[in-house]
Symmetry: C2
Subunit: 189 residues, 2 copies
Amino acid sequence: MKQETRKQEIIRIAAKLFKEKGYSAVTMRDLAKAMGIKAASLYNHINSKQDILKTIIISLAEEFTEGMKLIQTSDENCIDKLKSIIELHVRISSQNIYGMASLNNDWMHLEEKLEYYQKLRIDYENDFRNILKEGIVSGEIVNVKPDVMMFSILTTLRSLYIWIPKKEDLNLEELSSTLSKILITGINK
Amino acid sequence: MKQETRKQEIIRIAAKLFKEKGYSAVTMRDLAKAMGIKAASLYNHINSKQDILKTIIISLAEEFTEGMKLIQTSDENCIDKLKSIIELHVRISSQNIYGMASLNNDWMHLEEKLEYYQKLRIDYENDFRNILKEGIVSGEIVNVKPDVMMFSILTTLRSLYIWIPKKEDLNLEELSSTLSKILITGINK
DNA sequence: GTCTATATTTTGATAGAC
DNA sequence: GTCTATCAAAATATAGAC
């Protein structure tokens, strides 16, 4: 475990504040106060508020992209690929609960990196949708509109960060398998 | 169809802007510009920016509460109650896409009405969870953690506003039944 | 109902001392 | 690496004329 730099600490605390109130509502003075220093001192470590947001969001978005590429090119069947995607979201979300809030809610406040983020997001959704479509063709998945299925599963996975911290007794493998059961086989008996 | 008052128009346009950038990032000048007037003129119709947010969120939250109470006290079985909840979300979300964004993302910026909102939200979730628990007892619903089931279904329903406007060919009844199928019976064949 | 003018506070960010 | 002091811009909101 490497020592956390002051910059990393600022980004970590910022993400926590962004989760509570959103990027726009958090001031550099709020952040400084949470760090126990003055606002001006922050600028010895970071270039701008925007820079903090960019770092939080882009690193997470790239992590999801890398995970999806591995799953996509694996030789699993479609249901197992879906289970791997669920595990990917549970893993990344539980490792960075605060950052996930920014990724979900504050991406529109990206400036220079907005287009890049949007491309990663669209590509991710296309890969996801294609897995569902392949599953329909192969007969693994019911022939229901892939867009609605993707929307339903993906919004649940994207909202994990809201819910994970509430569970004291968090077992990641158990959560992944419970979610897989609910999302894939439904809830009716 | 009653004539829209100037105040209602301001609230409608504000909700649209809040959906795009969030409450905190939208200024009264942004709103005035979208209305084609000056910022000072807004205050002839509304008391404050906070008042706009309060109106948007509380009216929607109360609409959901009323709907839930009707469903809860009906004599439907649990699966049909769930289907009714799905229809409730599809109906309200499609009628007020912009407002749903504030309800989901900007409730923490409520000031005076924050506690009231939080009570409505907790009550709603308790009613939802109790329906699932009853379904487990009656054997209609699989015996999986009710919290995870509720989280999964409710986050999907709460995110409908993101996705509904993308569909040109929106048929509300069809969307409700497709969602019911996916959320209740799953996606695997 | 809208305007101009303006008060007051808060914002992100910089300069320079220590 | 942090501070004080400060800037320039932008924020919500009010007063009063038309």
